[in-house]
Symmetry: D4
Subunit: 216 residues, 8 copies
């Protein structure tokens, strides 16, 4: 596995990451890591390769956009001195353009998204042993859907930045697309955004596959 022994892995993001984690820092047993993919990643690593002694920390906050991430980056990422960092952000940046179309000050458009995310990556990378960037997604198989199209633009930005800076790239949208050939979206997430445990496990598996985790 790419993640080094004794590493501290901080995973930051929005409600998909948060899932009820402990405040101010989500680390440790039970509900401290929330009930989503972060907890599953921690459990799969802990049950499979305990000798690596990897610490997993959940710093997701529900509702966050990349703009919110930037505002809390010092305390919620840098101060924690992670060895590895994973970032999954952008869903709210897109979603509010569609769910609250009139509230324009809540929208984070592609330019701001790219500039902010790139800036965070660029300045943080020197302090890390490894960085993972995961795409935002919508659990919607219709690629002509307006919000899907917009989400794909943000996913492409993530890929572009990951490529430019040599980060591990995880295409969560592509993973859900594969699952959507078997399930209708409502079997994974009623609102096409917040997945049930099947969808959360999918994210955990994609993350682990990308960092070279071995199942047995």
């Amino acid at each position: 596995m790419l993640i080094h022994d004794n590493s501290k892995l901080v995973m930051i993001g929005d409600s998909i990451t948060d899932c009820g984690r402990k405040r101010p820092v989500g680390e440790g047993d039970g509900g401290n890591l929330g009930t989503g993919y972060v907890s599953m990643v921690s459990a799969l690593i802990g049950a499979t390769c305990p000798e690596k002694r990897i610490r997993v920390v959940n710093m997701g906050i529900s509702g966050d956009t990349v703009r919110d991430l930037a505002a809390r980056w010092q305390t919620d990422v840098l101060d924690l001195k992670p060895d590895w960092l994973s970032v999954m952000i952008g869903i709210n940046d897109v979603w509010r353009q569609f769910s609250r179309p009139n509230v324009i000050e809540s929208h984070v458009y592609p330019d701001e998204y790219e500039e902010t995310l790139e800036n965070l990556v660029k300045t943080t990378l020197p302090t890390l042993k490894g960085l993972v960037l995961m795409t935002p997604y919508i659990i919607e198989s219709n690629k002509n859907d307006a919000m899907r199209q917009m989400m794909d633009r943000y996913g492409a930005i993530v890929k572009k930045i990951a490529d430019k800076y040599g980060a591990v790239f995880v295409d969560i949208q592509a993973a859900f697309d594969r699952l959507l050939t078997r399930y209708y979206s409502a079997a994974l997430a009623l609102d096409r955004i917040h997945p049930n445990t099947i969808g959360q496990m999918l994210i955990a598996k994609e993350f682990l596959k990308a960092v070279g985790f071995k199942w047995e």
Copy 2:
């Protein structure tokens, strides 16, 4: 307005109708009618034509299919002796085929839906002064969406029965389709099913238009 003076109007359905109504019978002020279209219909009639003295009763139950409606029809419709009755059912009949694809005993397929609904209509019609049948819907503009296609089949069954028995027919799906030319679905309902107050008001307006309500 088609609804006669001094009528008792019972509105039955699923969670779209229920919206937290009082148990066992939802009638009266404040939250007794719930917070959805039934309360809005009652308020619009009461504020506009109080001289008609129309009683509105909400008998929706969250999660119901037409199969559940049939099971409680005697106590929840016939025993209340409505003059007018409105029925909006079918969303769960369809939804569970997509959200719980493996739990097949929870699915109500088109044949059962049609037979059950028609039977309820046929046996109840003689006791009524008026009957309104509203289509189920999904707030999804893509007509190729699998669940949308299935929902349209159920909507067509409602229209067929309404035509056959001379009931007032309200095409809620068509109304949402018009709204979807202006809104993305997430601005009306996060899960494409349970609308916010804009969507509930749309249902109330469509119902009232169909029964000839005059706004002023």
Copy 3:
């Protein structure tokens, strides 16, 4: 409709306006706008003319008098930069003279009411595209009732100010008087002040009629 496309409409007032809105700013879906006339105005506009993209913001606070409004005017009106503003205030100014006759420091008498309200209108008008002033009211048909007589004085002040400054004037008291020819007050509000959904819908309809809203 008088309200311009893309406008932000702020509605301020007391408990009739508040109805459990979100703090500090009431905007958005579901309960954010509360359960009263503001939510109904938003829903009727949203369901009928979504292309106008009007934002509705609820800034009512239960128990407020015009004195309280003045104290929070900067943060709760000016800072929000509304295009249109509606104000319905005065019920508590009057009510406490009758419900707490001994607590004279809680009373806002007509002179203070007029001076304060006029001052708010005069200084705010230049920043607005449109202003709506609605009368306070009591749901009491007896015009010789002591509190009704006093409330009518405050309503007359509102009309006077609206006329002087060219604001849209909405006579809510007159609207309730029409309804009271059909209902006894207890069918609309147990305390003659806080209306049920019928009375709240009446306020919403009067507001919308005054700004030229078209029902269909």
Copy 4:
């Protein structure tokens, strides 16, 4: 005082009597008697003439009409074997005709009220040492008010029955009328029905005066 030493006094009625009393039988300290006139009657007797050793029992139930009283008369009055009984009923019989005008099955009209109340009095009187009948009331000074007029009809029925059967008669409406020369109704009860502690104390005082209680 008319009430005999060592008597058990049962006081029955609606929400004015109930005031949160203990179920199934309200007797004893603290909240067991509720927070209304029954508790005050008990406290005034207990503090003033403890040597009389009078037991006070509260059997009020919120929302009751005389029809509801008749349905629970056996368990809630006769089975308790009171020496003295007080009855204050009729407010809901009248109120619902005005607050829920369309729900006619909830109305108890004068004929039913008179026949039911008289029947309860006639059959119970032989088992009692004393009976007190108190009028229903509305805290509304306008005698032309529609609900006030109706309430006065019910109060007249109470007086007629009290006279015919020699019960102690307490005119609560008249007592509130005297207070209304000093207070506006909202200073005693926001809904003109449920009094604050001043109004509850008034009822307690009227009851005690009628049974010859001496303050010192």
Copy 5:
């Protein structure tokens, strides 16, 4: 009655006075005055002589000694500008000497009690139209009981100060002694301190008798 028309009467003390009053200032309807003698005093005055328009304010705080009263005297008495003031304090000053014998810093001995109370009286009297001092008490008939003996010393101090400064003196201990010839203490207060409604009404009656209140 000694209390002047339009007076504001502030009643301060410990838990006997407090009884769940509203914070920071207990004034107005329902529970605002708590459920003890202050509420009863207000209700008896309001129901009997509303024309006097007397405001009653409850400033009791559970657990207070005279030391605590002095610490909050500026905000809780002087700032409220009472016309009349009543003080009932001392129970906790004594009680803690017996219930927490080892926690000596919580004890307020007679010298401190007298000096503190006298100082409050002396400095406040010039700002008042009238002052009422009520004794602390224990609902215990055995005058040889150790706590009763101590309480009597504090009661004597109250009387001494009342006499010296011409305050209205109310001997609550004596009143309970009269009641104890008819009741065992447990029928009035399980802990001999916190009375049920009978005992609270007794305090209200004693206060009112002392200020010349007429029952009818």
Copy 6:
């Protein structure tokens, strides 16, 4: 210790025994035995002589008189097949005569108390290896106090029955009397009945002393 190895000891009584034990049967860790003397007895035996493997079961119910005990004797004592049984009852039998003097049906007078208790003892004794009878008590040092005098009569009945049937007798009243030479009653129990942990520990110690428990 008198209690045999592997015995099941059932302790029955009123609120002094109950102290929040688990229903329907109080046995086991933590709160299952409540927070009073039963838990302390169990903990002292368990910590000191675990090799005896004694099971302790709490069957107290708050508010019980001996009349209530008799009514539940079959299920709450006999069905549990205790080896040893302890009974402490009588406080409520006496207390209600003083706290609710008018509610005479709640009083259990000495004759009924003696006859009922003796009958329970007589019929149960043959099924037991050992029986402990503890006196009721009042934490009141004044032997002329009316309730103390009555309680002493009940204590004497317990002693008489214990002597007659050879039960272990524990004089809890005498133990509290010794403690009252050092403490005022309020330092042990605010209501002279329900002791704090010091008083509960006293009961536990007296019980254990009577059955020959060794501290070390």
Copy 7:
């Protein structure tokens, strides 16, 4: 994977299985399957091989022994008509012998355990497509520990029955033993019984490995 397409897999057991599942039947999204290994098994299957359309049902009940399982076998297993069944039981059978040594009626000794479990297996096997038996365990590496020794006896019984009837056998104890070479027990379960998410994931993985699940 051994589990057939479209199978219904019922997993029954004690608190390790239960983990807050829905009553009466735990099936579906979110918390319905609880937060333990059953949910993880369902999520891993659903995310990896959705085309198999396997239904997972959680029927664990906290605190159950094999005696309790037998008592609810008809309703909780047979009536659900599972295709595959997994059973993990025995922890409480053993644990109570150590945690409640005196409460012998709560102990299920090896003979009863074996006879009961074998009987359930024997009678149910003909109705199943597949059966999985998992060992009980204690997260304790010291094989001389008294409870560990006893638990190993029960695990051997499970193995014996699995072998005799050809069930899939899963040695959970052995899996934990491997993990205990890396972790101290407290890092997996504070009480050595209820694992955190790492331990629950271990159980899920062992189960899946035994039925031939492929990770990718």
Copy 8:
């Protein structure tokens, strides 16, 4: 008993001491001292030798290590001016090395433990009349258990410091070891750390024995 008459005894520690004590200072009746050994010590002293008038204060805080104790020593020990002080700390210092092996900043290793504890003892001793040091413990009989071995090292440090400074030493670990010859650990504490009432009583007894307390 070593503890002097009229002494104030402060007992500080972690969750074993805390047990839900009152904040900020745990002193007095009922739950103020929590439900653990502190409350039992207070009750045993109070019931046995009330004439000593010893005040017991609980300053335990759940989760504390010696590092946490040092941080709050000024406010939680020195400011309270104890005569006698007892300290039981170290369990969390050890436990987290095993339960959270990766979170190394939470570990307090032996050197820091010894230095910190000795420093607290050295600087505080001059202000005290007596000091009691109790060992941390684990309720685990296997002396080869990794955490047991580490705990024994910390216990030895406590003994070393107690000997060096002449403090009363209480070997709680040894006491539990004696009990473990009769009980399996699960009968005293599910997690081998937090004892039930038997284990808490054991601590209380050991403490009292060490300070020369006499049971009778």
